[in-house]
């Protein structure tokens, strides 16, 4: 058991899975010699060599498309797209092929591959380096989309993603790559994909979030508890798609009041589906309008103004208060 950052924890998962399974190949831009711009693939090249740790030419569609070919062959590629804002280049391979090869081939072939990519804002990066487009991939049957919220679940979910028989987009919240450390057991540990978790229990209000926003939401929940003794239940989705609606709909039946938090832009963002499921499964329990705390419907501003774009504890508390008072 050691204290690890999320970057180190994912790195641990890659090391362990590559040791145990020679089908696992890591590829992407600068994943080898530098160990990735966030050092998540550090040490893999030295340990596993150029055959299994590939610095590819600069082409995202190619990284995903060739990974798919490897997966069809029976390997387990884990490819990295340097920033999620460059995943758009590969959209056709994700949407039209990785998500469909099982279906198209009637089960003859499949795409057991992981597409790792750092997403989200808050690290003072350049344009295109702070995007959150869960909605682009959550809407595609055949794809899975996973977002860890800390070192321990990141490591466990990465193991599960590599072993998953279907393609997984693994969105890594770059804001918390090194924000804090957590005990991460050396022994292998997995978490089921497609299951959300209760991160904090409470009866007054349900807060639904994921990734880096979990921590701002927990912060808000604590603030609410201290200031006005409100106990918020905080749910960490962990998997965006296939969406697990059992836990949050249950929670809302208890609390009747909801706040959803995400970094992505508001309109047509991921909160919409959560609200839809609540409408379908917990409608009669809702005591107030569901509140969304999200990025605004603007392009993520350059970093001097970035803080203003991202949800923070204040905004979450305000929304919770509205949900509780209406």
């Amino acid at each position: 058991m050691a204290e690890r950052t999320m970057a180190e924890a994912i790195n641990l998962a890659l090391h362990q899975e590559m040791e145990g399974d020679d089908r696992v190949i890591v590829l992407g831009e600068d994943v080898g010699a530098t160990g990735g711009v966030f050092r998540v693939t550090e040490g893999l090249l030295d340990k596993f060599g150029e055959q299994r740790v590939i610095d590819t030419p600069l082409a995202e569609a190619l990284i995903v498309g060739s990974s798919l070919g490897m997966a069809i062959y029976g390997l387990r590629p884990v490819c990295e797209i340097q920033f999620s804002g460059f995943l758009y280049f590969a959209m056709h391979h994700i949407e039209s092929h990785a998500a469909r090869i099982r279906w198209r081939s009637r089960g003859r072939y499949s795409a057991p591959m992981v597409i790792r990519t750092p997403y989200g804002g808050g690290v003072h990066a350049l344009e295109h380096h702070s995007e959150s487009k869960e909605a682009f991939h959550a809407h595609s049957p055949g794809l899975k989309m996973v977002i860890p919220s800390g070192p321990r679940n990141a490591r466990a979910l990465m193991l599960s993603a590599i072993r998953d028989p279907d393609p997984v987009i693994f969105y890594e919240p770059k804001l918390i790559y090194r924000a804090f450390r957590e005990e991460v057991p050396d022994d292998e540990e997995t978490l089921p994909i497609g299951q959300s978790q209760v991160a904090r229990e409470g009866d007054d209000l349900t807060m639904i979030c994921w990734g880096a926003m979990l921590h701002r939401t927990l912060e808000a929940a604590e603030a609410l508890a201290e200031s006005d003794g409100v106990q918020a239940e905080v749910i960490d989705l962990l998997t965006i798609s296939p969406l697990d609606d059992s836990i949050f709909t249950e929670s809302v039946r208890k609390t009747g009041r909801v706040v959803i938090v995400h970094e992505a832009q508001r309109s047509f963002g991921p909160a919409g589906e959560i609200m839809a499921r609540l409408n379908e499964k917990s409608f009669w329990y809702l005591e107030a309008p569901i509140q969304r705390v999200t990025g605004y419907d603007v392009i993520v501003p350059y970093f001097a103004r970035e803080r203003a774009y991202l949800p923070d504890a204040d905004r979450i508390v305000k929304a919770a208060t509205t949900a509780l008072e209406s």
Binding site: I25, Q51, R52, T56, P57, A59, A61, L62, V64, G65, S66, S67, L68, G69, M70, A71, I72, Y73, G74, L75, P77, H92, H93, S96, H97, I101, R102, W103, R104, S105, R106, G107, R108, Y109, S110, P141, G142, K144, P165, D166, G194, P242, L243, D244, D245, S246
Partner: protein
């Protein structure tokens, strides 16, 4: 070196073996046994007659839109014939002739054309990828397969097919470039049939030939008469052996022509002259091969007649087989299958609701 011309190292060449009249180039003529030659001829003929029949069936509304291979039988089959069963074939949507060579049953192609997902199924053991509709997008998949085959230390080779129009897509560029860097065991077979729907080659690129594009990737480029099945077989075999030997990929341009419609939704009279088509019919690959086989006594005129009857019977039989299967395949609830290895709860709910609605 104030100003000097840059040279090109890898081979960039043009070749052909069998002329339309049946004359062969003695130096290049591959020594193929009669059996192989007969199979090449039979499969080309089968593919041609099958396309003709499909066109009729489509007009009768028995099947939907499809893309005939007519005119490209030598390019597709000559190339595919250079592969072993242990090699991989990665098609676009027009490689029905190559698919037949590889073992795909006629009825399977019919099922696909009739709109059944089951038609995209590749027979167990046959190492082909399913039909790929988005132009050029199969090329990176092929390079990934090739990388994996090499990583596993096999001697498998991957052959990927695509058209002249496909060379304009970024996927073509990115994939061939990667194969060059990793010397992946892959053969890129460009079916230059002169047209991308209504877009002629000269609007597709200013390159002198499509084989020239190999220079951008530091790999050999070979241009071959695509209606010359011996030439295609020779060029493809050289490329396959090079790949198998670990010496990397080749870009093979087969110069051919799409004798029929792009798909049955297309009307070529809008964009090309009937004369051009007639000129190219003069270069039809099937009579050319047949002339060669008759000359060398591998086939007799009677054989040919018998053969035509035979393939027509195969086609009729395939229709009955396909029709029989379509009866079984009616149930639309199957659309919920194969989305994930394991069906998520909400999808099971949707399936349930659908099933109820369609019983009740």
């Amino acid at each position: 070196m104030p100003r000097r011309e840059l040279k090109i190292a890898p081979r960039l060449e043009d070749l052909s073996v069998l002329e339309q009249g049946g004359q062969v180039d003695d130096d290049l003529e591959p020594q193929l046994d009669d059996d192989l030659l007969r199979r090449l001829h039979r499969t080309m003929l089968l593919s041609r007659r099958f396309d003709e029949r499909l066109l009729r069936w489509q007009r009768q509304g028995r099947i939907g839109t499809f893309a005939p291979a007519m005119g490209q039988e030598a390019s597709q089959i000559g190339a595919a014939a250079a592969l072993r069963d242990s090699d991989w074939m990665v098609p676009s949507y027009r490689e029905s002739a190559a698919a037949l060579w590889r073992g795909t049953p006629l009825w399977g192609l019919i099922l696909y054309d009739a709109g059944y997902n089951e038609g995209a199924e590749v027979p167990e053991g046959q190492k082909d990828l399913p039909i790929c509709v988005p132009v050029a997008s199969q090329i990176p998949h092929a390079v990934g397969l090739a990388y994996a085959a090499k990583y596993r230390g096999t001697d498998e080779v991957v052959m990927v097919f695509f058209g002249d129009g496909a060379t304009s897509e970024g996927d073509f560029h990115e994939a061939v470039n990667l194969a060059g860097v990793y010397r992946a065991p892959v053969v890129f077979v460009c079916q230059n049939n002169q047209w991308a729907i209504s877009t002629p080659l000269e609007k597709q690129t200013a390159a002198e030939t499509l084989a020239h594009k190999a220079v951008a990737y530091g790999i050999p480029g070979v241009r071959v008469d695509g209606n010359d099945v011996l030439g295609v077989y020779l060029a493809a075999s050289e490329a396959v052996e090079q790949a198998r030997a670990g010496d990397g990929p080749t870009l093979l341009e087969c110069v051919t022509y799409r004798l029929s419609v792009h798909t049955t939704a297309d009307d070529p009279s809008k964009y090309r002259e009937e004369e051009d088509v007639e000129d190219w019919e003069e270069h039809d690959p099937i009579p050319r091969l047949r002339r060669y086989l008759l000359d060398r006594g591998t086939l007799s005129e009677d054989d040919v007649e018998r053969l035509e009857q035979e393939v027509d019977d195969d086609i009729e039989g395939a229709w009955d087989e396909a029709e029989g299967r379509m009866q079984q395949l009616g149930d639309p609830v199957d659309m919920f299958d194969h989305v994930y290895a394991e069906m998520p709860p909400y999808l099971a709910e949707q399936r349930e609701a659908f099933a109820q609605q369609h019983e009740g």
